[in-house]
């Protein structure tokens, strides 16, 4: 028998061990999240909204939020149900945009709170454009019109959103859909959308 064949079982064993030794694949939980905004994801988004409407029978669901981008130098993708919603008066600036909205949702790592001022007051059915740079209520202070707050046990990350371009549409009398794109004041960029059900569950 040629000498090389004597080594075949050992080589096969070594190759088997080496071949079986794939690195651990442990992607972040963001890899299991989806970005469901945009015309190509309409079906997915609508399915999540329908799921939310069903959930409202037994638990709190006020809509769907999805976003993607870079926050604190990390790539983020989120799709989640909105667990809390508030719409309030915002007395600053143009009376045609005298509302503010606050949306709360959860992700695998943190809770997300989006605050947006400069909302159109009904009966305007839709509004699109860039938010002003300053939404402060007094002439001597400054604050962005949109704020992102991430909360997790042991810390939080609050950042103003600048260069915000948003589109808001009344889907129905009770549901408002908003899509946005913005830079983060501390670096990074986000785009996303949320559709919320204005009426609380019975």
């Amino acid at each position: 028998m040629p000498s090389g064949h004597r080594w075949a079982p050992a080589i096969a064993l070594c190759a088997g061990v080496i071949g079986c030794a794939d690195p651990i694949d442990a992607p972040s939980a963001f890899s299991g999240e989806r970005y469901v905004c945009g015309p190509e994801h309409v079906a997915e988004f609508d399915a999540l909204m329908e799921e939310c409407r069903t959930l409202r029978q037994t638990s709190v669901c006020r809509g769907v939020l999805s976003l993607r981008g870079s926050i604190d130098a990390q790539d983020v993708t989120v799709d989640a149900h909105v667990t809390s919603l508030s719409v309030s008066d915002w007395p600053g600036g143009d009376p045609e945009f005298a509302r503010a909205i606050s949306v709360l949702a959860g992700s695998p790592y943190f809770n997300i709170k989006l605050d947006m001022n400069y909302l159109a007051v009904p009966p305007r059915a839709s509004i699109s454009g860039e938010l002003p740079e300053n939404c402060a209520l007094t002439p001597t202070s400054s604050t962005t019109c949109m704020l992102l707050n991430l909360e997790a046990r042991g810390g939080n990350y609050l950042v103003g959103m600048i260069h915000v371009v948003r589109t808001m549409e009344l889907e129905t009398a009770e549901e408002v859909r908003t899509s946005f794109s913005a830079d983060l004041a501390r670096g990074g960029h986000l785009e996303g959308c949320f559709q919320v059900i204005l009426a609380p569950a019975l």
Binding site: I24, E151, G155
Partner: protein
Amino acid sequence: MIATAPARASAQEPASQGSAAGPAAAAAGSSRPVDIEDIPLEGLLDLNLEDRLGKTEAVSRANESVLRAPASMTTLDSTELRLSGATNVPDALRSVPGVAVVRHAPGNYVVSLRGTGGLAGNNVILLVDGIPLNNPMDGTINWDLVPLHVEDIERIEVVRGPVSPTYGANAYTGVINIVLRRSVGLSPGYAARLRAGVGTGGGKLASGSGRFVHVTPGLELRGFVSGDWDGTSATPATAGSDDAPLKTIVFATQATVLLDSLNRVSFDFGRAASNRSGQDHLALLADAQDQNLWFGRVLYELTQPDVFLSSARLWAQGTAFDIDAVSPPSGFSYVESEAHRGAIGTDLVLTLRPWLGATLGGQLNLERVDARFLHPNADGELRPSYGFYGGLKAQPLPVLDLTLTVRADQSPISSDLDYSARASAVYHRDTWALRATAASAFRSPTYVEAAGRFVDPANDQILLEGNDRIQAPRNTSLELGATFSPEPDFTFSGSVYGSRLTHLMVEDFESVVRRTFQNDDEAHDFIGAELEASWRVSDALTLTPSFTWLEWLSGAQGIDTNVGVPDQNARLTAGLRLHGMFGNETWGYGASGALTSARQYDVRAGIPPQVLSSELAPATHLDATLERQLIARPSLWLSLRVGARLPAGKAPSPLPFATESEQRAILGLEMRRE
């Protein structure tokens, strides 16, 4: 005692390279050992320095003289250990140069070497007769699971510096090898002891332990058992949890069949179980947890000096760990986790020429970790890995030894093939030796670091997650050492070294977006010096002072790595061991202690994370023993052990045991036949 593996057979054997093999086998010894402690002072004149320092297998996995070994090493022999007053291995190591010891909780210690002091205890390998006992899950050492009492240890060898070329990944700062007690004098030999004591605060402790050693021409049997209940270090009130005394029960057995003068087979088996607080830098709550360890090995050895195949070893070994709890934990803990590892391997020593030898070896490993805090892709997966090494040892001149060892290991985590290497030159004369060593070694990322997923049970959000792209931390070191013995009763050794730690782990708790592990891009450079002397003042007194100095050249640059942070390492440590027998050896006494300079922890750790701000003021650790023989036959001894931990100050901390002062006194009876 400085690097004094008991002279035993080494006092009679010539210092030949390539004889015997492997830490376990040669540690068993084929001839009746003679402890250098038993040699009268005037008898030391008959031994040269090399004989007095003895032999070791801990540095190169081949029997070699300590004087000519290519690394710094300290040996604590059985007499030192018995008379040191230490009741566990970490406390016995406090006076060893280059070693840093911090206690997180009763039975839960972090022991680190050369600048890697910090919160993580996975930077050094613990061997028991050559069997590694680090937990595969996170690489840490459960010091409460050492399977025998400290007084049943033949010797502890502390090898400092990158030793991965010999032992593979994770020995990148050194190894601590515990050698089981060998027979001394009479056979069968045995010891049985009962101890009871109290500590400050009124806590009580009790322990029972013993050993049996029987050596015949064809068979060697060893058995060790120990049980402890220690309520002296119950959780202090600041931890906000119920008392969690330390309870352990351990045993180890070894049977060696001497087939003939060249061949032997050994069987090792052991079990250790403990119940203690699970508090550490990630699990901040002091809930009690059960820890279990099983280990076993079959080892075949062939020893035939001066033949081409001077020695050969074939071995198969396995370890199994699990952590569990009777009651559900109140917060994050490591309970409900299991880790299993099996390995087969071989080590060969070849004599190529009378002046040239080679070592070859390799091993295949298989391991599996089950834990609820692992990524689903890694949980319960069987993961193979392997390692192989080769080395050359040349003696071009009778006074000059040159060694080169290179090793490659595939990580079971990343599947990367990482390399380690060591080159050394030792120039030795009758009363002194000089050593230069350059080495580079690494630590494989752990399952926690690469694939951890710690979920908050309150809201299912991930509090800390592994990073499967993490790189292996590396230690590259250059060292100069010297051993000097101007008189037979005095030996001095010292080393200076420079080290660079790269790719250290950062537990990035700062980012809210995703807390994970990452590598520090900055190198951590430091230099150090270790000095140790052994002075046999008389047959009744041996002094071993030591001194360690650490100076950081660069450190954390705004990122807190979990080791290698200057503030977390004591800059200065002074140690002292002394012991002796008097009154016709019916009295024994000893003490060991260390004074460490201040350390500080100011890191964000824990799950969920909180700031750990702890100042370890300059601290004194002192243990002492006094024993008296009551009856000669059978030999019955009464002993008093005292211990004191005296930090100069205290700050409240989520890890309160690191700053707690404590004193204890223990009375004991021991019967032994040796």
